[in-house]
């Protein structure tokens, strides 16, 4: 469940990143259409919120929140490191992490 929370936090970070022109060019083709930044940002907030819910659900309010905050920070670090050295892996990492998270949650 916590891997899924990490995947969601990573997705949220990626969405925030896509609202910035500088990074959008590196991740998507120029002709890709995206919804407006306000929508993407609210989706990102939704991802973070859902990740928090997962953390609180599995570890309780106190500890779940601490773990969630650490996961959000680490997902940001992972995203930036990938952007800098392996930008082609940034988008495929989203479904990969999500799949791992789902497998971990189900098992």
């Amino acid at each position: 469940m916590l891997l899924l929370a990490f995947a969601l936090a990573y997705l949220g970070m990626t969405l925030l990143c896509l609202t910035m022109n500088r990074h959008r060019g590196a991740l998507l083709r120029a002709d890709t259409r995206l919804p407006g930044p306000a929508i993407i940002r609210s989706l990102a907030v939704g991802c973070f919120g859902f990740a928090l819910w997962l953390g609180v659900n599995s570890q309780g309010g106190e500890i779940g929140t601490v773990i969630w905050l650490c996961l959000v920070m680490l997902s940001g670090l992972l995203l930036v490191l990938l952007l800098a050295w392996r930008s082609r892996w940034v988008l495929p990492a989203v479904p990969l992490l999500a799949a791992c998270g789902v497998v971990q949650t189900v098992l």
């Binding site: 916590l2 970070m13 925030l16 990143c17 910035m20 500088r22 990074h23 570890q59 309780g60 106190e62 500890i63 601490v66 773990i67 905050l69 650490c70 996961l71 920070m73 680490l74 940001g76 670090l77 995203l79 930036v80 490191l81 952007l83 800098a84 050295w85």
Partner: protein, 508 residues
């Protein structure tokens, strides 16, 4: 605008000067996330994962037979999942000397294990640099400087959100390092801020003693006693009656807590009729552990007091608990470890920005700063690896074994400093050689562990003993990373040299 400029100076110098000290503190704290696993690795008697079958009375029996001094107090902790053995400590009356030992879990009788510094060495290095109260004040001061640097860093960073995801490793030196410094500082900001704040808050009563000193007319112990709601009894100067069984008191306490686990068990002035047994509750499911200590008369076993901590103290414990990461199991410790490494990276990045700026101006004195960097940023990890080598190579029968391990650490660090000073003109070559040495030391540790004990990696993995295997695995990963970095550094000297020359040409 003026505020930003003045904050920039504060951030540069207030951050730079304590940064080497902060690196020592943060690195040691990061390692201390897994201090108990490290202790297990450093004690071969714990490698096969046997849980001690001794009881609290056996441990007290050992103390009565082997220690003849009059004791102010003694305390003990039973086996837990991470520490499957009994620990015992005692303080000799009127001397303040404290002794600590740990008992071999494989033995049916209480039998001490060979001494070692254990992972606690890093914990102590983290909070007082092994320098007692003075060290604690120095660490506190460094922590306060870290808070100042964090806040002033936010003020001077104009593009926090715009540059949030920006890292340009191919840019020129200063730009790339500034990106890295910003990345680890900004993305890890909540962690650094909370840990710096709670770290300083743990010793707040020592850093800001005035109020307690005045209100309690200098009797600080009374202040602590009242705040914690703990129980004290004056000595009466009479010989004690035969003591009741400690195991029975622990069992009774567990019943009182409805099955809760017991942690530390301590006995105050055991050689007096007023002796008191405190049984403390251990609960790892919360950030602030519950202060539910039960105090018994050591002679009759009568329940004297149930601790009732004040709300303020509970809030304090919550802050301290958030810092110490004893909740939430391995996952939380792993997350703290990764964020701690991010903190180290932030410090290194910040210093590299400072250096790159001055190097472009052609400042000669930066050579010495580079030497200092090399002796701390590389010297401390190298000395820590040397400590683990010393732990494996010093024979178990050696007297004062823990002290010898400490000297291995200090000696290795001094050698690293000497090396960095001698090679100060060739910082790149020095770094490559340090990385190679680090790789050799780290990769050698699992091998030397396998040669000297039965707890080698294959055995511990075969048992599914991840706590023990994780130390060996971490060393292998760290060694491979060091080797890869050294190899990369070797492969790209020409490009870097050209880049260095071209920037100098631009300057000219």
């Amino acid at each position: 605008m003026k505020l930003r400029q003045s904050m920039a100076g504060l951030h540069t110098w207030g951050g730079l000067l304590p940064s080497w000290l902060l690196f020592v503190i943060i690195f040691a704290g990061t390692v201390a996330c897994f201090d108990k696993e490290l202790t297990r690795w450093m004690r071969p008697a714990l490698h096969d994962g046997v849980v001690s079958s001794l009881g609290a009375d056996d441990v007290r029996g050992w103390l009565q037979q082997n220690v003849s001094d009059e004791l102010h107090a003694f305390w003990m902790h039973g086996p837990t999942e991470r520490e499957p053995y009994w620990r015992l400590g005692w303080e000799v009356d009127a001397t303040k000397t404290i002794h600590n030992i740990a008992f071999d879990p494989r033995s049916a009788q209480a039998e001490p294990m060979p001494e070692t510094l254990g992972g606690e060495f890093f914990f102590k290095l983290h909070y007082n640099l092994h320098a007692g109260d003075i060290g604690m004040y120095i660490v506190g001061l460094a922590g306060m400087f870290m808070l100042v640097a964090l806040v002033s860093g936010v003020i001077i960073h104009r593009r926090i959100f715009k540059d949030f995801f920006t890292l340009r490793p191919k840019a020129n030196g200063q730009r790339a390092w500034l990106d890295a410094h910003n990345l680890f500082g900004v993305v890890g900001f909540p962690f650094h801020l909370v840990l710096a704040y709670t770290g300083v808050a743990i010793f707040v009563a020592s850093y800001m003693p005035a109020a307690a000193q005045v209100s309690y007319s200098g009797n600080v112990m009374q202040y602590f006693g009242e705040v914690m709601g703990s129980f004290e009894r004056e000595e009466v100067g009479q010989p004690p009656p035969a003591p009741v069984s400690l195991d029975a008191l622990i069992a009774e306490s567990r019943q009182q807590w409805g099955g809760g686990e017991a942690g530390w068990v301590s006995v105050h002035h055991p050689d007096d009729a007023s002796a008191v047994v405190d049984v403390r509750r251990r609960d790892r499911s919360r950030i602030g552990s519950p202060q539910d200590t039960l105090s018994y008369d050591a002679g009759t076993g009568e329940l004297l007091n149930r601790q009732d901590a004040s709300t303020g103290y509970r809030a304090y414990l919550w802050l301290a608990g958030l810092h110490m990461a004893q909740f939430g199991g391995t996952l939380v410790r792993l997350l703290y470890l990764l964020m701690g490494l991010a903190g180290c990276a932030m410090l290194v990045g910040g210093l590299q920005v400072w250096l790159a700026k001055r190097e472009q101006r052609g400042d000669r004195s930066v050579i010495w700063v580079r030497a200092l960097n090399a002796s701390v940023f590389a010297g401390l990890p190298l000395a820590s690896l040397a400590l683990l080598w010393g732990n494996r190579l010093i024979p178990a029968t050696f007297a004062e074994r823990a002290v010898a391990e400490g000297w291995v650490f200090v000696g290795a660090w001094l050698l690293a400093v000497l090396w960095a000073v001698l090679r100060r003109h060739q910082s790149r070559r020095l770094l490559r050689e340090q990385l190679l040495l680090g790789a050799v030391l780290a990769l050698g540790l699992p091998i030397i562990n396998a040669l000297t004990t039965d707890g080698h990696l294959i055995a511990s993995l075969g048992r599914g003993d991840w706590a023990l295997a994780s130390v060996d695995l971490f060393m292998i990963v760290a060694g491979l990373v060091c080797a890869a970095c050294a190899w990369r550094l070797n492969a790209t000297p020409a490009a870097a040299a050209v880049r260095g020359r071209s920037t100098r040409v631009q300057e000219a």
